[in-house]
């Protein structure tokens, strides 16, 4: 499984030219053998909380109907951080919740430190096609690696022109040295279809950036998968320990978990959407409200009780 987690989404997707270009890019991606891609939407500064995800994924049917090659499409937001006082509110904002993957692009050392240490993001992206305004330090990067946040190298600038190629190779070698090859993903950031390259070509390219072949392969396969899983746990679970599902989604032979026999299938709490537990740990107001509403239902659930024991 090969991943390309950075396909810039056109700014005006309704325009025919841009739409065709996007389609062409995806056709080439399928041809090159990628299976998961993420459309990237770039935002500078503060996110407008009312603005929802503008990315519309494409239908598989528009591609060659002969090929039954399916490509998974994800959405991603990249927030360019400029002001250190800026309240980014990554977690609370509705705007970010509608994206699959969140990435941040710090522009100074302070923000880079914050991004590595505290921000709730999945990817830290650096503008590697130009000179970085700060040094990448091992102590800072170590924080990010500990938290399972990944660093991104975009290879398209290197294909576009020679001066960015120089910068990119230098920056990438720095990053690889500092991270010791851990927690790096390689993505394309291709504006045009001809800037894409095949997965094995990228692996070879990564070897001239100072990685060995095994780590290079991880950068476009398993590491990207970790990013997607990291994003999923951030979105769907509580402290990456437990997730919520509606009771209605339970299979017949799992019904014992809510204290019911297989025969008595018609449950009364169909309208229960989510269950919440661990009231003590959740400080937010809206979550407390949720807890009160659902408390009665929650107590029926043996599963949740088990999990609560595990947590405390």
């Amino acid at each position: 499984m090969f991943y390309d987690l950075n396909i810039p989404f056109p700014t005006q997707p309704n325009q025919v030219v841009q739409r065709n270009e996007l389609r062409k890019r995806i056709e080439i991606l399928i041809k090159l053998g990628y299976q998961v891609i993420a459309f990237n939407h770039i935002v500078t500064g503060k996110i407008n909380p009312n603005k929802t995800n503008p990315i519309k994924t494409l239908d598989y049917e528009i591609f060659d109907p002969n090929q039954n090659s399916r490509i998974e499409q994800l959405t991603r937001i990249t927030i360019i951080l400029e002001d250190s006082n800026q309240n980014i509110g990554l977690k609370s904002s509705n705007a970010t919740a509608s994206y699959d993957i969140i990435s941040v692009q710090p522009t100074n050392e302070k923000l880079f430190q914050n991004a590595c240490g505290t921000f709730e993001a999945d990817i830290i992206s650096l503008e590697m096609g130009s000179r970085l305004p700060f040094y990448i330090k091992h102590s800072t990067v170590g924080l990010a690696i500990e938290r399972g946040v990944f660093f991104e190298i975009c290879y398209a600038p290197a294909i576009r022109d020679a001066s960015s190629r120089r910068q990119l190779i230098s920056n990438a070698q720095n990053l690889v040295r500092v991270t010791r090859g851990k927690n790096i993903i390689i993505t394309s950031e291709a504006q045009r279809a001809m800037e894409l390259r095949g997965p094995y070509d990228i692996m070879n390219l990564a070897t001239i950036m100072g990685m060995n072949q095994a780590t290079a392969k991880e950068c476009i396969s398993t590491n990207c998968r970790s990013v997607v899983m990291h994003a999923a746990t951030r979105r769907n679970t509580h402290k990456a320990a437990a997730s919520f599902e509606p009771i209605t989604s339970l299979k017949l032979n799992d019904l014992w978990k809510i204290g019911k026999e297989k025969s008595s299938n018609n449950s009364n709490d169909n309208n229960l959407k989510r269950m919440k537990f661990s009231e003590e740990e959740e400080g937010d107001d809206d979550n407390d409200d949720d807890n009160n509403n659902n408390n009665n239902n929650v107590k029926k659930k043996k599963k949740s009780n088990k999990l609560r024991k595990l947590e405390t």
Partner: protein, 156 residues
């Protein structure tokens, strides 16, 4: 005496305009050779050019199926491969290179090339089926079979 060991790269060219455009001339192996040498010169300088000058040769290139085979000494295949990756146009026609197979002997490369041709044939047949036999692809099929024979005839 120590034997000179080689690596064989099977590559494919993907063009920006997928339809066979008449205004471009068909590429030859010499065009590919000079494109690679230019790219090595640009990216790896005189040292890189010197390293590969003796061993690099384009053994086969078919302008029809857009695949070709390159020989290069084993020490410097990384260099040639990355030079291939950085090529954006050949004879002012925008394209991208994609390596399909990397082998230690030419035999494996020939095998991989024929396999690739076979895949293309299957794809063509599917297309004919899909259009209900209305499109004529007999020329394409003949060309692929010709290319198969050519590949089989390559000698190290």
């Amino acid at each position: 005496m120590v034997r000179l060991k080689n690596r064989w790269l099977l590559f494919e060219i993907i063009y920006e305009d997928t339809i066979q455009n008449k205004k471009y001339e068909e590429l030859t192996s010499r065009d590919i050779n000079s494109a690679i040498k230019d790219s090595v010169q640009q990216n790896f300088g005189d040292y890189g050019s010197g390293c590969i000058a003796a061993s690099l040769s384009v053994k086969y290139f078919s302008p029809y199926t857009n695949i070709g085979i390159i020989r290069v000494s084993r020490e410097h295949y990384n260099l040639v491969w990355s030079a291939l990756t950085f090529i954006t146009q050949v004879q002012s026609r925008f394209c991208l290179f994609r390596v399909l197979h990397l082998g230690g002997t030419i035999k494996q490369c020939q095998k991989a090339a024929i396999e690739y041709n076979q895949d293309q044939l299957l794809h063509l047949k599917k297309q004919i089926e899909f259009h209900g036999g209305k499109v004529d692809k007999s020329i394409d099929i003949i060309k692929i079979e010709e290319s198969n024979n050519e590949i089989k005839a390559i000698e190290a």
